[in-house]
């Protein structure tokens, strides 16, 4: 299981700004290890964010997303203290879900 995501969700006016840092290697499948063998691709494919059960953001990623991905998005309709859930799934079907409180 991968390390937890770092999620900051802050209410500014009527908009919630969400900043996420995920811990993931995002291996492209094109790099070689020291013995010359290809390192198999291992990367996050989908990211979903839900607020009160409603999908507020979704992403599909290729291998071109940088290692330990950073993501920022904004949505309206959140309130202080609300829970925000983020989850990702990678190409090896590993996944992780974390929750943050809107501050």
């Amino acid at each position: 299981m991968a390390d937890p995501m770092k999620i900051r969700a802050t209410l500014k006016g009527d908009t919630v700004e969400v900043r996420v840092l995920m811990a993931h290697n995002m291996e492209t499948g094109a790099r070689k290890d020291s013995s010359g063998g290809l390192i198999p691709a291992h990367f996050i494919q989908t990211v979903n964010a839900t607020h009160n059960g409603k999908l507020v953001f979704a992403a599909q990623w290729g291998t071109a997303i940088a290692k330990n991905p950073f993501l920022q998005f904004k949505f309206k309709g959140g309130a202080k203290g609300d829970k925000l859930q983020l989850s990702w799934t990678d190409n090896k079907n590993d996944s992780r879900t974390d929750e943050a409180t809107i501050a």
């Binding site: 494919q45 979903n48 979704a58 992403a59 599909q60 290729g62 940088a66 799934t89």
Partner: protein, 156 residues
């Protein structure tokens, strides 16, 4: 792979349908998203193929899409790229990096209530145009910006 499924993916129809189903609450987001990963688009090796796989042949180039990316990136492994769409009814934002081995870097879905702006960090193999493709009101628009990648990290 089943050819008809591939065709559907190429047309971008399956993603659109899926988004609609999510919006209607018929399909719960979650595990199902893994299947919605647009393999055809992420396998595309050129801008033309990628646009076709996303169902966006010949997007209109417009000035309403703002791209925040460095003019020169000293480290191609971490290039911060942000996009803001000022087009009404934006439902999708995609990042395309022309000269990467796989053109499509990311596709973001913007449900109603979410602002059409996103920021992330991408990898770039070499100096290339970064195209931001926006789907607004069912039509596709795009803007692009060249980002120079300095190999060796000496700057300048």
């Amino acid at each position: 792979m089943n050819p008809s499924r591939r065709q559907a993916l190429k047309a971008g129809g399956s993603l659109g349908l899926f988004s609609a189903l999510v919006a209607l609450g018929l399909v719960k987001p979650g595990d199902a998203w893994a299947e919605a990963w647009n393999k055809g688009a992420f396998d595309a090796k050129s801008t033309a193929d990628a646009l076709a796989a996303l169902g966006a042949n010949a997007p209109t180039m417009v000035g309403e899409i703002a791209i925040t990316a460095p003019d020169i990136a000293e480290n191609g492994a971490v290039v911060p790229v942000g996009a803001v769409s000022n087009l009404p009814g934006t439902t999708q934002i995609a990042y395309l990096i022309e000269k990467n081995p796989s053109t499509v870097a990311a596709v973001f879905d913007i449900p109603p209530g979410t602002l059409p702006e996103v920021q992330t960090r991408v990898k770039m193999g070499q100096t290339s145009n970064v195209m931001i493709l926006v789907k607004a009101d069912g039509k596709y628009y795009a803007a692009q910006k060249e980002v120079k990648v300095t190999v060796g990290g000496c700057g300048g």
